[in-house]
Amino acid sequence: MSVFHRFANPNRFLKLTNQVLPWVSGLTVLSLAAGLYMSFFTSPPDYQQGESVRIMYIHVPSAWMAMFVYTSIAIASVCSLIWRHPLADLAAKASAPIGAGFTFLALATGSLWGKPMWGAWWVWDARLTSVLILFFLYLGHMALMHAFEEQERGNKAAAVLAIVGFVNIPIIKFSVDWWNTLHQPASVMRADGPSIDPSMLWPLLIMGVAFKLFYIVVLLIRIKSELIEAKLRKYRRAVVDKAH
């Protein structure tokens, strides 16, 4: 009876993860160190914003991650709903806290950058508001996922929410172009090429890569942990079934 072979094979996934993990972790440490060094020592102060521009090297990558992780969750949710792949559910579940963390960082570091530049910790402009909504979407996703007795139902409900909430992502991306706001417009991800100096662009990009690698490391460990939990649940059930 080979019926169970047709499901995802978690053992193969675990084996692959264990092989990849040391390499990704090493790369994360390297790129993080290089990014930090460059953002403090090789990049110049901004001619308008002075040294405070150094907050950019964590603020902008955090904001990228906030959107990137949410997009990953939305893609995983589509896979979960259409192909019912169990690993997609685990990936979405494992990603949400990481995404929420980075969204919080984007908001907090933005606030710390905004205070000296704009004179206010917070302004209610389109970009900030839409990122705040994103943060609440992450919280709602996590709450919904854990709100059901049956994990399966939580996964599916959260998947629908993630897909519905995805409308927010283009709004965040283009809010600075559509509305004239205090927040500065995009300077890296532009159709006609980045508009900032290479001495600032490089540390920014390297930090961006470092954050993404960090996400992959934490994500893989979390999925691994979830898989072990699933195995534990199976053992516990077996004990109950035996007593039946």
Partner: protein, 224 residues
Amino acid sequence: MGSSLFQGEDLTCIRGGRTVFLGLNFNLAQGQALILEGPNGSGKSSLIRMLSGLVRPKLGKLVWQDQDATREPEIFQRHIHYIGHRNAIKPVLTVLENLAYWSGKKKDDPSLDDALDHFRMLPLKHTPANLLSSGQSRRLTLSRLLASERSVWLLDEPSVGLDVASVALLEDVIKTHRSKGGAIIFATHSPINVENPNKLNLQDYSPLYNKKLLAVENEEDSWI
């Protein structure tokens, strides 16, 4: 016995990470009655819900009149009537309004009166449903079977809350339904007498009771 109406091949149901039953086959022909047996947790309700199309089988095939309907339960949903544990009765509506809504018929349709009469509910026709006893509610629910005129009935514990006389009414209705070529699948703990029924014991397909299946399940690497 008529030709094959509804078939299941190698059906597997997994709920909350637990295999409820696996490798289950059944065949329902016109005029047949299939009784699902088995202790608590062997998956009787799950199977009935799967056959109604509410739950999709994880593995296996559902065939309706030689047509593969595994992916499109809509094919057979038009021909079945499912009655679950809950009665789907709105307390603020009258007995007749409740019946009319789910059978999709006008309130003055004579077949509604007939259906109510079969289950001795006609005198309560204009009573708000919140005044009904649990047995009366169940009888109202069962009268939908007659009003909706579907060929296959899927009944999950239809006799819950019914007294002996009402169970006899149900047996009567089932008999007429079968004689007209209808088929029926039901799960029950209390005896309902039907002529030459086919029986399916879910215990044989449940890893919880059939330890041979448990071994098969445990051997596999997949645990999610």
